[in-house]
Structures are given as C-alpha cells and as structure tokens.
Symmetry: C2
Subunit: 149 residues, 2 copies
DNA sequence: TGACGAAAGTTCTAATCCGAACTAAATTAG
DNA sequence: CTAATTTAGTTCGGATTAGAACTTTCGTCA
C-alpha cells in the first residue's frame, strides 16, 4: 500500500491526493478498529456481522461482494465467527455449491448490542464536517474509482 | 476494514462516503499491487524503495512515518528487502538505539528501473479526472482526517 | 446425455498488519 | 549523579490479505 511521501508529491499532481486518500482511510480504519476492539471484534468480523444483521442471510459470494472481503479471506473470517457461535453456514437449497450464511440468535444479539452504539460513536466525529463536502468527496471519489478499475 | 454496505448506508449520511472511500482506496491498492507485481515487489516493499530512493537514508522511525508502516511490520519488510540485497541497515552514529536504512547500489538501480515507469502507468489513469477536483478531494479529505485523529 | 467451461467455497502460501511485550540506549528528574 | 521515564527497534501472537490451485456442482452446448 504505497502511501506517497512528500518528496514524491512534488513530482506529480495526483500523488498528494492518493497520499491523503491513504492517510484518511487509515485514520478511519484505526479509529474504527479501536472502537470495535472494545466489543471484541476485528473490523472484518464486525463488517460481516453488520452486513448480516437484520437479514435472512446470504451466500458467501454476496457477503464477499458487500464487504469487499476476498473469498479466500472470507472463509477464515467466517470460521472464527462460527467458532464464536455468532453465525452458521447451511447448505443452500437452490445450489449445491453454496452456503447460506446467517446470524445465530447470539449473533443477532451481538449485532443489536454493537451496531447502533458504534455508528453513533463514529458519527460524532463526522459532525465536524459539512455534509455537503462529504457528498462532494463521495461523488468525486466514485469518479476517480471508475478511472482506476 | 469495514466497507459499508448499502443497507447501512440508508441509516446515516456519512456512511456512503466512507464506503466510497474504502472502495476507492482498495481499487487503487489493487491496481498498484498488480502493476508492482510485474517488478517483483509488494506495495509495501515498493513504498519503502520509493521512499528511500535518491536519499542518503533515514531511520526506521522516519521511514515508518513516511510510509505509514507500523514499526513492528516495518522490521519484516526491511528484513526481506535486505535479504534481496536492496538495502542495508547501519547503526546510527548519533543514537545507539537507531539504524540508518539506505538503498544499496542494487537498490538504487531497482528504484531507477521501477519508479518512473510505475508513476507513468498510474498517472495514465488519473488523466481522466479533473486536477481541480483532485485537489478539492485532497483538501476535504485532510479536513475529514483531522476529525478522525 | 455427455463433455466442457464457469462458478462457489475451501485450502494453501507468503506477506502484511496491529498491538503488546521486550531489550537496549537515551533523556529527564530530583 | 542516580533513578525513573521515554524512545528505537525487534520479537511475538493472532488476524487479515491477495492470489492461485483445487474440489464440487452447475449450466450450456452439441
């Protein structure tokens, strides 16, 4: 994950932007991870729990697409959450290759106990930033992403 | 790394922005990693090489601050690059606790062979985006980061 | 229907990642 | 000047990461 240095920044106009993108993303990650550690989750685990909360469950494929976790990685994350008793994998009735991943009652409980508070705590930080600016960032980042993909 | 789902996005205004930030960062990462693999580097390794290129070297601490690599991680990355003969660690003359990390001649050679081409290839993608928009993103992201740190 | 290519998940490897504990050296306090 | 604190870097443990190879099942096409 090249996080561009200021020396490089002088050479090319896009580098400071990507450098700031990396810094900002990591700052968010660190804050998120710190808050979630209090609940006993890693960010990936919480992402899975938050995605499955209040749903009837979904396939690994769909879960991977929503969380942006690669399928090879997802297997391990699901193993650990299943080991904690927070979710289970049942064979899909429609497709012999896939599983439906869903929260157990204990998992739903963990979701309810964690999600609202977490969102609230993260949200406090964002109150300091103009929502219109956030929306502007979002749309321009989407444009940038299109160029990168 | 919670990458927010659209379900969550409906609940709170900042979530779509962070979701897009994560997606954009990861898209950049993937592109970067793919291009660097051709040169036999991981993104972290390239980040170190690019940061050390054309410098007299620096301490692990400074290198970690510039690359945003945590010190515990940095040790391993440096070990591997040292194993490839691309850099060396010499005890600092000023401080008995620290080392000066610098590229070897082979490392400088790798830097010259990799950096300009890599920047050029990444830069192609950015030509599609208005530089003023990029600058706008950068400054607003910096503002956002200040709220998160 | 029977082969063949695509898709869903798992497994594997090598690298990264963070945080915490640790060692050694430097700095500060009294 | 000595004791306490801080700092630089390494080591360690648990988890995540991507990608590639692999197994099983599905879908298609002839």
């Amino acid at each position: 994950m090249p996080r561009w240095t200021s020396r490089q920044a002088r050479k090319s106009p896009f580098i400071p932007t990507m450098r700031e993108l990396a810094r900002c993303y990591q700052a968010f990650e660190r804050l998120d991870a710190r808050l979630l550690r209090d609940h006993g989750f890693t960010t990936s685990q919480a992402d899975v729990i938050f995605t499955l909360g209040n749903t009837p469950g979904m396939t690994c494929k769909e879960l991977g697409e929503r969380t942006l976790i690669t399928k090879g990685t997802l297997t391990g994350v699901l193993d650990r959450l299943e080991g904690k008793g927070l979710l289970d994998r049942r064979p899909s009735p429609d497709d012999g290759r896939s599983y439906i991943v869903a929260l157990t009652p204990a998992g739903e409980e963990a979701f309810e106990a964690t999600y609202p508070e977490h969102i609230a705590r993260i949200g406090e930080r964002f109150n300091q930033v103009d929502p219109r600016k956030l929306e502007k960032i979002r749309s321009t980042l989407a444009e940038l992403r299109a160029a990168l993909e």
